[in-house]
């Protein structure tokens, strides 16, 4: 009957459509896929293409929020089997990943024979390799620094303040600067500015001093930004002339034609590495090892630097840039003679959050 024939064709069509929609089929069944959680800027289009070609698999990068969110994702029921590869700030994620005792680790030991590019990690970052006993659990892949990104057309580069965190606090630029709405980074840089050498272990009295100082300077801050786009927009719309900012913000603003640069605060530059690790029950262990190896390759590192200005830990990549580009990208931080302050989770993070709350509520 006509109706039956039509119905069968329609049913076949619907089934085919449903199979396509569900990703069922010979092609997709064979597609290799790596589920990753890493900051988006570490996988821009060009660098992603290189990495996907190297590992012959598609990378599905899930949203990255923060180191604590990464820890929460891992600790959630089933968290160690849901993702194949994760990146996070080394100083923040080490403790939650390793946990208190051997055998409790949420990551699996890396097989370094499958990551030959690990040998290229610069001596500067050897101390950032996370080990317990003979096992290596995390490898630093990307590094970076956070400082003040400022507009050279509005703030003269020869002003001594530009080489200090004081650029954010001095009354000279009141109302033209913005901090980040983040208890850790904002309190850390303020503490460094006030001469506190180890902010993460500072006493409650020092934390109170930092809080009072922030409150006393509250009117100087035009606002506090919460996201990458918000920060870039603040600068590009000339709402402010200087922000506490990240490397890719500088890159994004320069790409817009803005005459911005970052400072090298003499009180101490905030530096970090992002380490890669494989969650304990990852279902794509081979692929994840290949991806870490690829992320440490010369080709990937060079491309990442060109796209986002983020430096990588691979010493070959640093050496491949001209002296001028090394200075522009910050590969020469060691030669600048400024203290480097590495991010670490504060012993009393609860109090830091409350201090930041007091600043905002004041």
């Amino acid at each position: 009957m006509t109706t039956h024939a039509f119905g069968r064709r329609a049913a076949l069509g619907l089934a085919g459509g449903a199979a396509l929609a569900a990703g069922i089929g010979p092609a997709s069944a064979q597609e290799r896929r790596l589920v990753a959680v890493m900051p988006g800027p570490f996988l821009p289009n060009g660098a992603r293409a290189i990495l996907e070609r190297q590992i012959n698999a598609r990378i599905e990068n899930l949203p990255y929020v923060s180191p604590t969110d990464t820890a929460a994702k891992l600790m959630a029921p089933g968290g160690t089997s849901r993702y194949d590869l994760m990146y996070s700030t080394t100083g923040f994620i080490q403790a939650p990943v390793l946990r208190e005792r051997a055998g409790q680790e949420l990551a699996r030991p890396l097989d370094l024979s499958k990551i030959p590019n690990a040998a290229k990690i610069s001596p500067l970052f050897q101390s950032e390799i996370t080990k317990r006993g003979d096992n290596t659990f995390m490898l630093p892949v990307v590094w970076g620094y956070d400082s003040v990104v400022y507009d050279r057309d509005r703030i003269p580069e020869n002003d001594p303040l530009t080489q200090s965190w004081g650029l954010l606090f001095d009354d000279k630029y009141a109302g033209r600067v913005a901090l980040r709405d983040d208890p850790y980074q904002s309190i850390c840089l303020t503490a460094l500015h006030l001469g506190i050498r180890s902010p993460e272990t500072m006493s409650q009295a020092d934390l109170n001093r930092v809080t009072q100082f922030l409150i006393s300077k509250k009117r100087n801050f035009r606002t506090i930004w919460g996201s990458f786009a918000e920060a870039v927009n603040l600068m590009s719309s000339r709402e402010v002339d200087a922000i506490f900012g990240w490397i890719p913000m500088r890159a994004a603003l320069q790409a817009q034609g803005r005459n911005v640069t970052n400072n090298w605060p003499r009180e101490g530059l905030l530096v970090f590495t992002h380490s890669a690790f494989i969650p304990r029950e990852s279902r794509n262990v081979e692929l994840a090892h290949a991806a870490i190896n690829g992320a440490l390759s010369d080709e990937f590192g060079k491309q990442l630097g060109e796209e986002t200005q983020y430096p990588v830990t691979n010493a070959n990549v640093a050496a491949s840039f001209s002296a001028e580009d090394q200075a522009r990208l910050g590969y020469d931080v060691e030669k600048r003679g400024i203290p480097l302050h590495r991010y670490a989770f504060p012993a009393a993070m609860d109090r830091w959050i409350e201090a930041w709350g007091r600043f905002k509520a004041a």
């Binding site: 929020v65 923060s66 929460a72 208190e100 506090i224 719309s237 609860d350 959050i353 709350g357 905002k360």
Partner: protein, 293 residues
């Protein structure tokens, strides 16, 4: 009493028909709240949250004055947002309810369209409007009203009110509009025939009859505003903090789920108590019973 549907036999009291609704409430309503209450008594550290039974988080909330300050500030801002929303929405709802024909549909769509856009975008849009180089400042300077940008339009508590009232207007307007739409126009004519002035008609006829809509709108806006997070963060600048922001920090920056949950439970408890107390004299029960006694 005649059966409304001849030939259809009643099947007793089919309580099982309520099962889907009850299950929904239990799974998506009560269970998350129960879990939140449980977590608030747990212990959190950088290594995760362990299911102990401790009062540490509540003790901290009590001993640290910051939390009380934030709760008071949050309640004050939510209450003022509710009041401002009511002042904006009641005339708007009256305007919509008194339109006729095709224009009524046009105006209704005009009110609804902005709410098809993401909440975040609707908040973000205020930045290029109120900013230093935004639309208002550019206009003021172009018209020669000001020589320099007005700084206080953005990044303060006032900007947060602008954002909150804007994003929650519909939640106030809609119930009032529906309540006004149910008022029989003959009542207004009767009041006028009996010599009532417009204000007296409003005071003694329109307002009492639209009161359930007003209450419903106020409760919705208050509850939404009390848990606001995005608007204060985007528009409030250095002062953009409400309890929602502190709760978010506990989860996102500190991995302290216990403290975040305890702050949430505290807020729920205080808001619940407020509704209970104020509900006695503003007739809040009408909102939940649909006006039936």
């Amino acid at each position: 009493m005649p059966r409304p549907f001849p030939g259809v036999r009643p099947i007793g009291k089919p309580f099982w028909l309520m099962l889907p609704g009850v299950a929904w409430l239990l799974v998506f309503g009560l269970a998350p709240v129960a879990f939140m209450v449980a977590v608030s008594f747990w212990r959190s550290s950088i290594f995760g949250t362990t299911p102990d039974f401790v009062f540490d988080s509540y003790a901290r909330i009590i001993e640290e004055p910051l939390y009380l300050d934030l709760i008071v500030k949050t309640l004050r801002m939510a209450a003022l947002t509710t009041l401002l929303s009511l002042l904006v929405s009641y005339p708007l709802a009256w305007f919509l309810a008194t339109r006729r024909g095709a224009w009524k549909a046009v105006w209704l769509v005009a009110v609804f369209v902005p709410f098809w856009i993401s909440y975040v975008v609707r908040t973000f849009v205020w930045l290029p409007i109120l900013g230093r180089n935004g639309l208002i400042n550019q206009s003021l300077m172009a018209l020669g009203i000001t020589d320099a940008p007005v700084e206080w339009l953005l990044y303060n508590e006032g900007a947060v009110y602008v954002g909150l009232v804007y994003v929650y207007t519909l939640f106030m307007t809609l119930p009032i509009y529906l309540a006004l739409g149910r008022i029989d126009p003959k009542l207004l004519e009767a009041a006028a025939d009996l010599g009532a002035r417009p204000w007296q008609t409003f005071r003694h006829v329109v307002l009492p009859l639209s009161w359930p809509g007003v209450l419903s709108g106020c409760i919705m806006v208050f509850l939404l505003a009390v848990s606001a997070y995005v608007t204060p963060r985007l528009l409030g600048g250095t002062s953009g903090i409400m309890l929602g922001n502190m709760i978010a920090s506990q989860f996102l920056s500190n991995n302290n789920w216990a403290m975040g949950a305890a702050l949430s439970v505290t807020l729920v408890g205080i808001v619940g108590a407020l509704l209970l107390v104020t509900g006695r004299w503003i007739g809040i029960a009408e909102v939940f019973t649909g006006g039936k006694k």
